[in-house]
């Protein structure tokens, strides 16, 4: 795939800038290169085989069923496991379950529990724990409102014997399996799980201090490949300049989601691993308000905005363009050709604008959430580019919470620059949000053919048909210029040159179990 090739090239470029001794040691994406043998050999004593990782955002909850922020789920991945867990290729692999079968009609899932899985407190995992956890996700402790929305599709959770759990669905869904990465917790934990997080993962929880740190240690009784590190501390450092200085001063061994500006300060001293953020950054247009209720105006904006310049200016060239709402990590559905649908063309944009009745352009507001420097800067570049077609864009910087209320919830805006991602790692979630009556269709997109394609695609059991329908839906979003699709931003992980073994996932996972000291 060309875009992947490009990413590989960029990765190479980063590696090339490092001292020769580091060459080739950058984290790869191939989990088969497990570093077990070398990990045992070269352990130096000064770091005590523990790692401190800088994270910019505090965890929103330690409850695996209530944590919603991507920054929390990627950390909790190390502590909790579901019946299945995310694998680095974008699919799932068995975890607490050793095996599962799906019935022909796609409505019944039968899981076989793995033998010898124990919680961090030493108790073996039983079917009662599994049923309890799944029922909790379905809302058993919360007046029936599911804690995880995909569980509204669940009609039954039963344990016919001591080793099997059967889940039945109301409607078939090829993507339901991804929801079963929801953590298995001891029966009866209740909301206390947030204070005392007990799971089955490769690391066990030690302590958490809000806005300060989370400490976890190696789970010696892990059922699978044990972790290499004895202890991992996540330190919350909100200021990205401080994050980088903390790396340089030695208080951090690793930092994730480092903005490219800051990462470039430590190039050469540290290993910088590049990935994408797994989100779609776009100039989202409110399709229900003037002038964006006219498809010609929306298309004009697509022509008037030079995506490559945005990537160059804001991300130092390191983002991956997207042409619709599916980002490249969804290898199956990503359509690279759509990035070419609207090549930069000022004349064409002007023509479309005058066809739509705006020969002299107009004035518009671009609302940007102020806590994301990349979105703010993207807004600045767009405002400058739009001047060429006579559009005056005012950038309205708002605080994140205000953005959520005004833009995302009340849809009281004209256009906004932000990133949209799929919290449950399915293409379904990226597409369903633009179905006309979907509750979070914040751009007010309304297209009957699109609605049909997405609805059919969600319920079909034929994978090939699903792919066709999803791609059709993506194409409609591009043809209708639902928004000005920009890029999947780059995501940089900075690690001490002594560390290796980072495996990049296609979803929000930071797997610390494979990290080791060289």
């Amino acid at each position: 795939m060309p875009s992947k090739f490009k990413r590989a090239l960029l990765l190479l470029a980063v590696v090339a800038m490092l001292p020769a001794s580091l060459y080739g040691c950058t984290g790869g994406t191939d989990p088969s290169q497990s570093p077990t043998a070398s990990a045992q050999s070269g352990e130096s004593s000064d770091h005590g085989n523990s790692v401190t990782v800088g994270i910019a955002q505090d965890l929103d909850s330690l409850d695996p069923h209530k944590a919603v922020a991507a920054g929390s789920t990627e950390v909790l991945f190390n502590i909790f496991e579901g019946l299945v867990k995310a694998s680095s290729d974008g699919g799932v692999r068995e975890a607490v379950a050793s095996d599962y079968q799906v019935s022909e009609d796609g409505l019944t899932y039968t899981f076989t529990l793995r033998e010898g899985v124990t919680f961090h407190n030493g108790d073996p995992v039983t079917v009662e724990d599994v049923v309890y956890s799944l029922e909790r996700c379905a809302g058993s402790e919360n007046d029936g409102t599911p804690l995880i929305s995909a569980f509204s599709n669940v009609t039954g959770i039963e344990a016919p014997d001591d080793t099997h759990v059967v889940i039945t669905l109301a409607e078939p869904s090829l993507e339901f399996i991804y929801s079963l990465t929801a953590g298995i917790i001891p029966a009866g934990s209740g909301d206390g799980i947030a204070q005392n997080p007990v799971g089955t993962g490769p690391f066990a929880f030690v302590s958490y201090t809000p806005q300060d740190s989370l400490v976890m240690e190696k789970n010696e009784n892990y059922w699978g490949e044990p972790a290499h590190l004895d202890q991992v501390t996540f330190r919350i450092i909100t200021n990205s300049d401080t994050l980088v200085m903390s790396l340089q001063s030695g208080s951090l061994d690793m930092a994730i989601h480092v903005p490219n500006t800051q990462a470039s300060q430590v190039e050469g001293q540290f290993t910088v691993v590049e990935d994408t953020m797994k989100l779609v950054q776009a100039l989202y247009l409110n399709n229900a308000v003037e002038p964006f209720d006219d498809v010609r105006v929306r298309q004009a904006l697509c022509y008037a905005i030079d995506v490559q310049q945005i990537i160059d200016f804001v991300c130092d060239g390191a983002g991956v363009p997207v042409g619709s709402t599916i980002y490249p990590a969804f290898t199956k559905y990503y359509m690279e050709e759509l990035t070419q649908a609207y090549p930069y063309d000022v004349e064409k944009a002007k023509q479309l604008l005058s066809d739509a009745g705006y020969p002299d352009g107009f004035t518009m507001d671009i609302t940007v959430p102020g806590n994301y420097a990349q979105h703010v800067q993207t807004g600045e570049v767009i405002a400058e580019q739009l001047k060429a077609v006579g559009i005056t864009a005012n950038i309205v910087q708002v605080e994140w919470e205000t953005w959520l209320s005004q833009v995302y919830q009340d849809r009281d805006y004209q256009s906004t620059v932000c990133g949209v991602s799929a919290s449950d790692m399915t293409a379904r979630e990226m597409l369903i949000r633009y179905v006309s009556d979907y509750q979070n269709n914040f751009i007010n997109f309304n297209d009957a053919e699109y609605d049909q394609a997405v609805t059919d695609g969600i319920t079909t059991l034929d994978e090939a048909e699903q792919e066709t329908l999803y791609k059709r839906a993506e194409t409609i979003l591009s043809e209708q210029a639902a928004s000005v699709w920009l890029q999947d931003l780059c995501d940089l992980t900075v690690m001490s040159p002594d560390l290796d073994g980072l495996i990049l996932y296609r979803t929000y996972v930071l797997d610390m179990s494979t990290i080791y000291y060289k």
Binding site: S264, Q309, D312, F313, Q377, V381, E384, E399
Partner: protein, 267 residues
């Protein structure tokens, strides 16, 4: 013979320079402050771009010109609001005292104790982003400190003999406050004024840093510095020049205030 007023001369020169610089930014900049250019990204200072270019290839010189005028406008407006309101409140409270004084001072305490981040956000929510929300938020926040300062001075003078004498001569209270006491308080108030100006410039920068300052469409020195800080090791000129202009602005006002104070003191 009067000795040479070193501060006044230096202050005047610097102020004329910095105000002139800011005024220039209102009317003219060599480039558009938002014009971007790929090849000029991180350009070093040169003849074409005396202060270099930033991460988007924007001319830093043009941006400091425009930023200085925005910062100066904000700081002046804030100081005028805070000083005038604070002076009146402080003078009346200090001179009369009593219950009204106690109540108003408590209100001032309440405002002074209120976190500026929260106040900034509230005003941002009411007025929307731009220069005016910064002016309003900081203006309100600056009143209590001026009021306290003035009140403290008035407390010091209200029972002095010259005030008592004026009262006996049935001079109107307002006249006593503004003609008899106020001139004596100028040395302290002037220092307060220059410190206030200084604080206003810094507070504008802090608000930009916290994301509640002037919006991305506008330029201000504070916003430039807070943005440029991240490039400190790779492109230090991005932070150096706006910082120098800020220093010039504050230094000029500070020296001028010092000079005027000296002049008043001699009379």
């Amino acid at each position: 013979m009067r000795k040479k007023n070193w501060y006044l001369t230096l202050g005047l020169v610097l102020t004329v320079l910095s105000v002139g610089y800011s005024a220039l930014g209102l009317f003219w900049t060599p480039y558009s402050s938002t014009a971007m250019s790929g090849p000029d990204r991180y350009a070093l200072p040169s003849l074409a771009h005396p202060f270099g270019c930033d991460h988007m290839g924007r001319d830093v010189f043009s941006r400091t010109l425009e930023g200085a005028s925005a910062t100066l406008t904000i700081a002046l407006a804030v100081v005028v609001i805070g000083f005038v309101a604070g002076l009146v409140i402080g003078a009346l409270c200090g001179y009369y005292g009593g219950v009204a004084d106690a109540v108003i001072m408590r209100l001032c305490d309440a405002v002074a104790a209120f976190p500026s981040v929260l106040l900034g956000l509230v005003i941002l929510a009411i007025t929307g982003p731009g220069k005016y929300n910064v002016i309003a938020a900081l203006g309100i926040l600056f009143i209590p400190s001026f009021a306290r300062l003035t009140r403290g001075e008035f407390l010091k003078y209200r029972d002095r003999d010259f005030v008592k004498a004026a009262r006996l001569m049935k001079v109107s209270p307002l006249r006593i406050i503004f003609r008899h006491i106020l001139p004596n308080t100028w040395p302290v108030l002037l220092s307060g004024l220059t410190i206030g100006f200084n604080n206003a410039v810094l507070a504008e920068a802090s608000m930009s840093y916290l994301g509640i300052g002037v919006g991305p469409g506008d330029t201000s020195l504070g916003r430039m510095i807070s943005e440029a800080q991240s490039y400190f090791t790779t492109a230090p000129w991005l932070v150096l020049f706006p910082a120098l202009v800020t220093i010039l602005l504050i230094l000029g006002a500070g020296m001028l205030g010092e000079g005027i104070r000296e002049r008043l003191g001699e009379r």
